[in-house]
């Protein structure tokens, strides 16, 4: 245990050190800010892409058409079998009438009279189908194979290329994200410990004097740790504030300017992104500051 006055003394000493080594402190904060800012940018982009891919995946459907003589009972049975599959997120039955309505809406828009002429004779009479939405696009091939083997199934449609590309892209993105984040953390640790080392080398003599007068390692270390943690804290709060406003600005800019994109691009709300980013960045900043100062100091405490 340390007394309150010792704690306050060390705390004050930490701030005095920060002020006394303004350039060093500034450099450390800037380094930390840059790294955490990049990290945040990458996380924001990555998680939004991820979200988009997921949305797109959700939209990818496998469509199952039935034999002409398939009974309603058989169709229900097929539907149930599909619904029981694990990789299936959702199954929707589209009746022939429904299929025609949808088709009409898209292809006869503004020309409804022409469509009316087909009224009694549904050209899509054989188009009753199941639309299957997958939980995991990677399982699509397997599902299609299974569906083709089912009784009463005439045809299975799938959007193979799209599904494949999205899945590949998604996992590539995940790997890149992880890679870049690891590199950024490594760079931050390296740069911070480098700056701390420079700062400590300057004060090496002082550390030795303190030890010779009878200071414990902890007592000598405390101001440095305060310094590291404060630098880490400031160096993570600055980029977080910047990122927050930047994120909001970009979000509203894109939503305003590219209305056409709105159906495709839906941003993850800022609050959701920052619910993850704030604790992670602060923890990272403070952690790097703490570990950086503590371990860099270790060598010099052997007096």
């Amino acid at each position: 245990m340390i007394s309150i006055s010792t704690f306050l003394y060390n705390l004050r000493q930490g701030f005095v050190n920060i002020w006394r080594n303004k350039m060093f402190s500034l450099a450390s904060v800037a380094t930390m800010t840059a790294c955490i800012f990049l990290l945040g940018v990458f996380y924001s982009i990555g998680s939004n892409f991820n979200q988009m891919v997921h949305d797109a995946e959700e939209g990818v459907a496998v469509t199952v058409f039935f034999d002409e003589d398939a009974s309603d009972e058989q169709i229900t049975k097929i539907g149930k079998a599909i619904g029981d599959r694990e990789e299936v997120a959702r199954v929707e039955f589209v009746s022939a009438e429904q299929a025609w309505e949808d088709f009409k809406d898209v292809y006869f828009e503004g020309n409804e009279e022409a469509a009316e002429s087909f009224k009694e004779d549904n050209p899509l009479a054989k188009s009753a189908n199941y639309e299957i939405y997958l939980a995991d696009v990677a399982e699509q091939d397997e599902l299609v194979e299974y569906l083709q083997g089912l009784d009463g199934v005439r045809e299975v449609h799938q959007s193979e290329v799209a599904a494949r590309t999205l899945t590949d892209f998604n996992s590539l993105l995940t790997y890149i994200s992880i890679g870049v984040i690891i590199i950024l953390i490594a760079v931050a640790v390296f740069l911070i410990s480098n700056t701390v080392t420079v700062g400590i080398a300057v004060r090496k003599k002082e550390i030795a004097i303190m030890k010779l007068i009878g200071a414990t390692d902890r007592f000598v270390r405390a101001p440095f740790v305060v310094e590291g943690v404060v630098i880490g804290l400031v160096g993570s709060i600055i980029p977080l504030v910047l990122l927050y406003f930047l994120y909001k600005a970009i979000m509203s800019y894109v939503t305003d300017r590219f209305i056409a994109l709105n159906s495709m691009v839906s941003f993850i709300p800022a609050n959701e992104v920052f619910r993850f980013l704030i604790p992670v960045s602060i923890l990272l900043g403070v952690g790097i500051g703490y570990v950086g100062s503590r371990f860099t100091l270790k060598r010099h405490l052997k007096v």
């Binding site: 340390i2 007394s3 006055s5 010792t6 003394y9 006394r20 003599k205 002082e206 004097i209 303190m210 030890k211 010779l212 007068i213 009878g214 200071a215 414990t216 390692d217 007592f219 052997k302 007096v303």
Partner: protein
């Protein structure tokens, strides 16, 4: 209190700074260590503070073999030993007051005690007026007095002073010597390294003479506080 048993210190460069020295200093003694430059005096002080480890032999301080003290226990040990370093070793980034107060902060002394003791100590060494100066703004003799104040403020059991009057004029040197004698009378064991033979002669204490890392003479004093001297 302090004992060296066949202590040898060889620096990397191969110099035997201390060569098989054995000596014994009793509690409450006042001892001068004299010798030419490079004879190994500061090396002995450093060995006694566990700043350096002996190449051979054993060092006992306060009844403990300090070679056996663990890293964690070193601070506790050093707090009982006040040291005036030959090159002062003041904290360059702190003013006079903070330099002296530091020895109290290290032992987590309460603020009230720091506020009381530091000004007292500073006026004792004649630096009350300069308490806000930084070491680099002080004359050599003034820095020396800061170092002395810092060494004494904790009322250590042992005081090691390496050339504590080296930068002082005769009057100031005598003031400091009187101060050390007072401390010694209160029970602190005092070891003073010096070149000032006038002071050594006048004080009439035990004098250990070192030459090339070897004790060449250990002379009892006739002063009042040397009745414990042994060889």
């Amino acid at each position: 209190m302090i004992e060296l048993k066949h202590v040898t210190k060889k620096y990397e460069e191969g110099i035997h700074a201390v060569n098989d020295i054995s000596l014994h200093i009793l509690p409450g003694e006042f001892v001068f260590i004299v010798g030419d430059s490079g004879s190994g005096k500061s090396t002995i002080i450093k060995l006694l503070l566990k700043e350096i480890e002996p190449t051979k032999g054993r060092v006992f301080v306060n009844g403990k073999d300090i070679g056996l003290i663990s890293h964690r226990q070193i601070p506790k040990f050093r707090r009982n030993v006040g040291v005036v370093f030959q090159n002062f070793r003041l904290l360059e980034d702190r003013n006079v007051y903070e330099n002296v107060a530091f020895a109290l902060r290290v032992v987590e002394a309460p603020r009230s005690r720091i506020k009381k003791r530091v000004p007292l100590m500073l006026s004792l060494v004649g630096l009350a007026a300069k308490y806000r100066s930084l070491p680099r703004q002080l004359a050599g003799g003034e820095q020396q007095r800061v170092a002395i104040a810092r060494a004494l403020i904790n009322e250590p059991k042992i005081l090691l002073a390496d050339e504590p009057t080296g930068n002082l004029d005769a009057t100031n040197a005598w003031e400091i010597m009187k101060l050390l004698e007072e401390i010694n009378q209160k029970g602190t064991t005092v070891v003073v390294v010096t070149h000032n033979m006038d002071i050594v002669r006048a004080m009439n204490k035990r004098v250990i003479t070192i030459n090339k890392g070897v004790v060449v003479e250990d002379k009892k004093g006739r002063g009042d506080f040397n009745q414990y001297v042994s060889l």
